[in-house]
C-alpha cells in the first residue's frame, strides 16, 4: 500500500510544480497523436463516406480489408513501419527512423482503418434516399460527400474519437519506430512503461494521470461538439 500512496504523492508533487520533463512528454504525445488523428480523419472520413456509397461488387472485399485493419496490432504496424524506415529499408534515405515523424506515420497507419471503418458504418446507415434527393437537386460528387458527412456527423466524430483513443493509448508502435528517446520521441505511454520497469512508480503514476487527463479533455470537447451538432 505504501507504494501506491508514495506514488500518488510523488505524482501530485510532479504535477503541481509543473515538472518540465512531464510537460514535454505530454506535449509531444499530443502533437504526435493529434497529428496522426488529424491526418487519419482527413483521409479516412472522405474515404469511408465514398466507400459506403460505392455500389461496386469490390466494395465488400475492401470493407473486409478495412475492418481487419481496425484490429491491426500496433506491434505489427511498428514492425512494418520500421522495416520501411530502417536505414537500409526502401524509405531509409528519408532518415525518419526514431523521429516523431516516424511515430506519426505509424499511428496514422493504426488510426486510419478505424476512422475509415466507423465512418463507413455511420454513413452507410443514412437513408439511401438522401443521396438520390441531393443528386437530383444538383449536388456534385464532392458536395454530396460533404452533405452526407454532415448528416452522419455524430458517427463521424465518434470515428475520430475512436481513432484518437487508439493511438494515444498504444505503446508498441511508438516504442519500435520512436525508440523512446529522452526529449525526442518519449511519449506518455512509452515513458510510463519504462518508468514502471525501472520501479519509479511515482513518475509512472504522474504520467498516467496526465495521459488519462488528456484523453478525457479531448474526448469531452469532441463530445460537446457532437452534441451541439
Amino acid at each position: 500500500m505504501d507504494l501506491i500512496a508514495e506514488g500518488i504523492t510523488e505524482a501530485f508533487r510532479l504535477l503541481l510544480k509543473g515538472d518540465r520533463e512531464v510537460l514535454r512528454i505530454a506535449f509531444l504525445t499530443l502533437r504526435v497523436s493529434g497529428l496522426a488523428t488529424i491526418i487519419s480523419a482527413a483521409i479516412g472520413v472522405p474515404l469511408g463516406t465514398a466507400l459506403s456509397l460505392w455500389s461496386h461488387r469490390g466494395r465488400r472485399r475492401i470493407a473486409g480489408f478495412v475492418n481487419t485493419g481496425m484490429g491491426l496490432p500496433p506491434v505489427v504496424v511498428g514492425l512494418w513501419v520500421s522495416i520501411f524506415l530502417w536505414r537500409t529499408g526502401p524509405l531509409g534515405f528519408l532518415r525518419l527512423m526514431y523521429t516523431p515523424t516516424a511515430m506519426v506515420i505509424a499511428q496514422t497507419v493504426i488510426a486510419l482503418p478505424i476512422v475509415t471503418g466507423f465512418t463507413m458504418a455511420g454513413v452507410g446507415q443514412l437513408d439511401p434516399g438522401i443521396r438520390l434527393q441531393m443528386l437530383s437537386l444538383g449536388a456534385s460528387s464532392w458536395q454530396l460527400l460533404r452533405i452526407l458527412i454532415r448528416e452522419a456527423r455524430l458517427s463521424v466524430l465518434a470515428a475520430v474519437m475512436a481513432g484518437f483513443g487508439r493511438v494515444v493509448a498504444e505503446v508498441g508502435a511508438s516504442m519500435m519506430v520512436g525508440g523512446n528517446l529522452l526529449g525526442q520521441t518519449r511519449v506518455l505511454t512509452t515513458a510510463t512503461s519504462m518508468e514502471v520497469s525501472k520501479g519509479n512508480f511515482g513518475f509512472a503514476i504522474a504520467l498516467s494521470i496526465v495521459l488519462v487527463g488528456i484523453t478525457y479533455i479531448i474526448n469531452a470537447s469532441l463530445t460537446r461538439i457532437q452534441q451541439q451538432g
Binding site: D127, G129, I130, L132, Q133, M134, L135, S136, L137, G138, A139, S140, Q143, I147, R150, E151, G229
Partner: protein, 253 residues
C-alpha cells in the same frame, strides 16, 4: 407535339436488371409547358423512367438529350440535373433548419448569399410556410415536410419539375389540400412537370398529358381523356375503378 425544343428527349433507351428489361422507351420527349402524368402499377417502370429523365440513372442503351444536347457527351449529367429539380415520395430533409434545407440547391450552384435569402423567402411564401423557416427540418409534420421539399425544388426555378409520388405518404385531407395548392402553383409559375403516381384520381389536377406504363414500356401517351378511354380495359383497369370517376371529372359523363 410542338416544334419547340424538347427539355428532355429519350431515344432508344433500354435498361436491364440482370436479364430482365426494366425500361424500354424507344422515343419520348417532354416539351416546355407540358404537365405530364405517368401512371402505372408498382414495378411498371415509372420511377425508373423518372430517374432516367432526371439523369440520375444512366441507361445501358440509348441516348438522353437535355435541351437538345446529348447527356454525357455534349452536356454533363450534373449540368443536365441542375436544370431540373425532383420531389420524392418522402421529403428526405436534412438535419438542419427549414431555411437551410430549402437553400441547399442554391448553395450547390454557388448562388450569392443575398439572392439565396430572397429566393428562399419567396419559395417558402409560395407554399405558405414562411413561419417555419427557423424550425428544424425533422420537427415538422408530414404535410409541412412535403411542402418544404416542394419549396426546395421550386426555389431552383427548374425548367422541369419531377414529382415522384409526392403525395403518397400523406393522409387524405393533407393530400387534397396540397394537391390543390400544387395545382395552383404549377398554373401560376407555368413550370413544366412530370408527375409520377399510381393514383389516377390525382391526374386531373396536375396533368394535361398522360403516359401509361406497364412492364417497363409506355403503352399509351396523349391527352388525359384520350388515353383513359383508349385504355379502360387495359392496364388502367388493374389500377382502379377510379378511371370512370376520372372520365366524369374531365367532363365526359
Amino acid at each position: 407535339m410542338t416544334a419547340r425544343q424538347a427539355i428532355i428527349e429519350l431515344k432508344g433507351v433500354k435498361l436491364k436488371r440482370g436479364s430482365r428489361i426494366t425500361l424500354d422507351v424507344p422515343d419520348f420527349e417532354i416539351c416546355p409547358g407540358e404537365n405530364v402524368a405517368v401512371i402505372g402499377a408498382n414495378g411498371a417502370g415509372k420511377s425508373t423512367l423518372l430517374q432516367v429523365i432526371a439523369c440520375l440513372l444512366h441507361p445501358g442503351e440509348g441516348q438522353v438529350f437535355a435541351g437538345g444536347r446529348h447527356v454525357g457527351k455534349e452536356i454533363s449529367a450534373i449540368e443536365a440535373r441542375r436544370r431540373m429539380a425532383m420531389v420524392l415520395q418522402r421529403p428526405y430533409l436534412l438535419d438542419a433548419t427549414v431555411f437551410d434545407n430549402v437553400a441547399i440547391g442554391l448553395r450547390m450552384r454557388h448562388v450569392p448569399k443575398k439572392e439565396v435569402q430572397v429566393r428562399v423567402d419567396e419559395a417558402l411564401a409560395l407554399f405558405g410556410i414562411g413561419h417555419l423557416a427557423k424550425r428544424h427540418g425533422r420537427s415538422l409534420s408530414g404535410g409541412e415536410s412535403q411542402r418544404v421539399s416542394l419549396a426546395r425544388a421550386m426555389v431552383l426555378r427548374p425548367e422541369l419539375l419531377l414529382l415522384d409520388e409526392p403525395m403518397s405518404s400523406l393522409d387524405v385531407p393533407t393530400r387534397m389540400a396540397l394537391l390543390a395548392e400544387l395545382e395552383r402553383i404549377i398554373k401560376r409559375t407555368r413550370v413544366t412537370t412530370v408527375f409520377v403516381t399510381h393514383d389516377v384520381t390525382e391526374i386531373p389536377f396536375l396533368a394535361d398529358r398522360t403516359v401509361i406504363m406497364a412492364g417497363g414500356k409506355i403503352i399509351a401517351d396523349g391527352p388525359v381523356r384520350d388515353v383513359l378511354r383508349q385504355d379502360l380495359r387495359g392496364a388502367l383497369s388493374q389500377l382502379a375503378g377510379a378511371a370512370n370517376w376520372l372520365l366524369q371529372e374531365s367532363g365526359e359523363g
